[in-house]
């Protein structure tokens, strides 16, 4: 079961991991605070401040207009939901298939899922016109005797995302319990209190491990179809409309693949940053980048294929509606964005056919960022180009994002970063026990002194 890994990890002992991870939590340098302050500041300034302005003024602060009633808020929403799709989903798949290379990275990948979901959920609030009544979209008994409309794709969204956030939170938390327990023993003061509560009194007995294993497996089994459903449902927000170029059967798989694609690219980015900043060079290795690279390449090819199919069917239909929408996408106001997307998401990933490229950290970082820029563009184009070219030509228009929208978009990345920075100081960002599992178990060696273990 435990394939020996061809990387540096197995040279390390259990203790080294422990020390590294606990240090990453407890020892905080000024750089961290500067980063946190910057990210937090940018969040306040670029996300919450414009949003408050928008709440006061109305959605008009954004650039939405008559045909283009949806804008970057929805594009960002899909983007963040999409970004969430690799963490937990990938983690579940790899858990079930017992791929050991996941183990060093899955914690941060899951955190990415969680925080992108949080950002996405926040975007729902940013997007709607009257967020102070958003609770009406939640089923609860009330004096008006009114319930939400369960036939609406948007309500599928509410249900799916609520489930997904719950599931992802539980999944990352369950996997972290043993590590919380481990950190608990090494800390004191408020951290000790916090970890005592978080670890729930975990002791690592055979029974607890056994239960955790099964619970974790069931969760993984449940979350995989959930994750697929979530992005399918997000796609249905569009596909269930009859807008030309949105009303497509292929949208659900297209969105799911796109989501995993951008999420995987996101993992590469996060891995790179964690590796550099948290001193996890030994745990996050070329192997991870190599494997992620292969995955990305496959996803890129599938994405390109589906994209091509979409264009082809639209063109082949020959109807004015599809034809004009297609033409606008390819050669219209936002054509430059379209070709940028093709470059970043379909052409550039071809580089990953090269093993050397896949195992080079910085190029992979750049590529992963490029892919996500491309994928953001894709979502933007879906919203911006299709709504502008609908059935009645005299009602056509052009949607252009406003500074408020762009600022909130930038701010959402800062929000994500802030949340992530807080995360790395609370959660062990590398799963200790699973990395330990990947190592060679200690062999029976008589009278080996218990080096490094606390007295």
């Amino acid at each position: 079961m435990h394939r020996p890994m061809t990387t540096e990890t197995f040279k390390l002992g259990y203790n080294d991991i422990h020390d590294d991870v606990v240090r990453s939590i407890v020892k905080t340098g000024p750089k961290y605070y500067i980063a946190l302050a910057t990210a937090g500041g940018v969040t306040l300034l670029c996300f919450f401040f414009p949003w408050s302005y928008q709440l006061y003024y109305g959605i008009g602060a954004a650039g939405m207009n008559h045909p283009g009633v949806w804008g970057t808020y929805l594009a960002s929403f899909i983007f963040w939901i999409g970004l969430s799709h690799s963490g937990t989903l990938l983690s579940c798949v790899l858990h079930l298939t017992n791929s050991s290379w996941r183990k060093a990275m899955y914690r941060s990948a899951e955190a990415m899922t969680l925080f992108s979901l949080v950002v996405a959920a926040t975007y729902v609030m940013v997007h709607v016109g009257r967020p102070w009544f958003i609770h009406w979209a939640v089923p609860y008994p009330n004096q008006m005797e009114l319930w939400p409309n369960f036939r609406s794709p948007l309500l599928f969204d509410v249900m799916a995302i609520a489930t997904y956030i719950t599931g992802s939170t539980i999944f990352i938390y369950m996997g972290s319990i043993p590590d919380f327990a481990a950190v608990r023993d090494r800390t004191s003061g408020w951290r000790n209190t916090m970890y005592t509560l978080l670890s729930l009194g975990w002791r690592g007995t055979d029974k607890e491990w056994h239960r955790l294993h099964w619970a974790y497996t069931f969760l993984a089994v449940l979350i995989i179809p959930l994750a697929v459903s979530v992005h399918s449902i997000v796609s249905w927000d569009f596909a269930m409309s009859i807008v030309p170029s949105l009303h497509q059967t292929i949208f659900a798989p297209y969105f799911v693949v796109g989501a995993i694609y951008s999420g995987t690219a996101g993992i590469v980015t996060v891995m790179f940053v964690l590796r550099k900043t948290m001193g996890f060079e030994q745990y996050i290795t070329k192997l991870h980048f190599d494997n992620l690279g292969k995955l990305l390449l496959v996803l890129s090819l599938i994405w390109t294929y589906i994209n091509g199919v979409e264009l082809f069917t639209a063109w082949y239909s020959g109807t004015s509606e599809e034809y004009e929408a297609l033409g606008y996408k390819l050669f219209g106001y936002y054509a430059w964005l379209y070709w940028e997307m093709i470059l970043f998401c379909a052409v550039a990933p071809m580089l990953m056919f090269s093993t050397r490229f896949r195992t080079s950290f910085v190029p992979m970082l750049i590529l992963s960022i490029a892919i996500n820029i491309g994928m953001y563009t894709e979502r933007f184009l879906i919203v911006a180009t299709s709504l502008s070219r609908q059935y009645l030509p005299d009602a056509w228009g052009t949607y252009v994002p406003s500074p408020v929208e762009i600022s909130i978009m930038v701010g959402s990345f800062a929000l994500f970063t802030t949340l992530f920075l807080i995360f790395v100081k609370i959660f062990p960002s590398v799963s200790m026990y699973e990395v330990k599992e990947t190592m060679a178990t200690p062999k029976m060696e008589p009278a080996a002194p218990a080096a490094g273990s606390p007295a």
Partner: protein
């Protein structure tokens, strides 16, 4: 060595108590305001008593609120209406003198609106009066009120929380009496 989460919970207890106290305090404060200063019984420019008029003297509601049977709004009587009686009745009371001063100055009385529906609600007195719905069903025991207050006889459990005039109030009555299209949103919302 042993482990449990109890010590950690003990550490958190003061903070938890603080949170509980604050929550309870907020609810209490809100409740206190709702109960003691409900704001649904403002002091009117003239201390007109529905108890005296509608209760003790049994003046019918529609005698003064004449419009209720033909208009969406029940209307408030003009000063002339009051004066019509009070030229003769109870002329010496201080409030009536106040009334007469409005009359003599030809000034309308700035009555404060107590029963106020939101802008998005369409309600017509006419239909309800013509359907023989008693005024008290929605307005409560007006004939016992010295100062007019928002209250209602039709009680729907959740609708009674806070302000009695909520959608649930209309709805329960419409459902109960099986009003034609009574639960169609457009019947009441404009």
């Amino acid at each position: 060595m042993n482990i449990s989460i109890v010590p950690a919970l003990k550490v958190l207890r003061p903070a938890a108590m603080l949170v509980i106290v604050i929550l309870v305090g907020l609810v209490l404060g809100y409740w206190a305001n709702a109960t003691f200063v409900p704001g649904n019984s403002p002091e009117q420019p003239i201390a007109f008593s529905h108890k005296i008029h509608a209760g003790d003297n049994e003046v019918p509601c529609l005698y003064c609120h004449t419009q209720a049977r033909r208009s969406p709004s029940a209307g408030v009587p003009a000063v002339s209406k009051c004066v019509g009686c009070h030229l003769e009745v109870a002329t010496e009371k201080p409030q009536i003198r106040l009334l007469m001063s409005y009359w003599e100055n030809r000034e309308p009385i700035p009555w404060i609106k107590v029963h106020d529906l939101p802008d998005f609600v369409h309600f017509t007195h006419k239909r309800h009066v013509l359907a023989n719905i008693e005024c008290q069903t929605c307005h409560g025991p007006v004939e016992t009120m010295d100062r007019i207050t928002v209250s209602s006889r039709a009680v729907n459990g959740s609708a009674q929380v806070g302000h009695p005039w909520k959608m649930g109030l209309c709805l329960s009555c419409h459902r109960e009496n099986e009003v034609v299209n009574g639960i169609d949103c457009l019947t009441c919302h404009k």
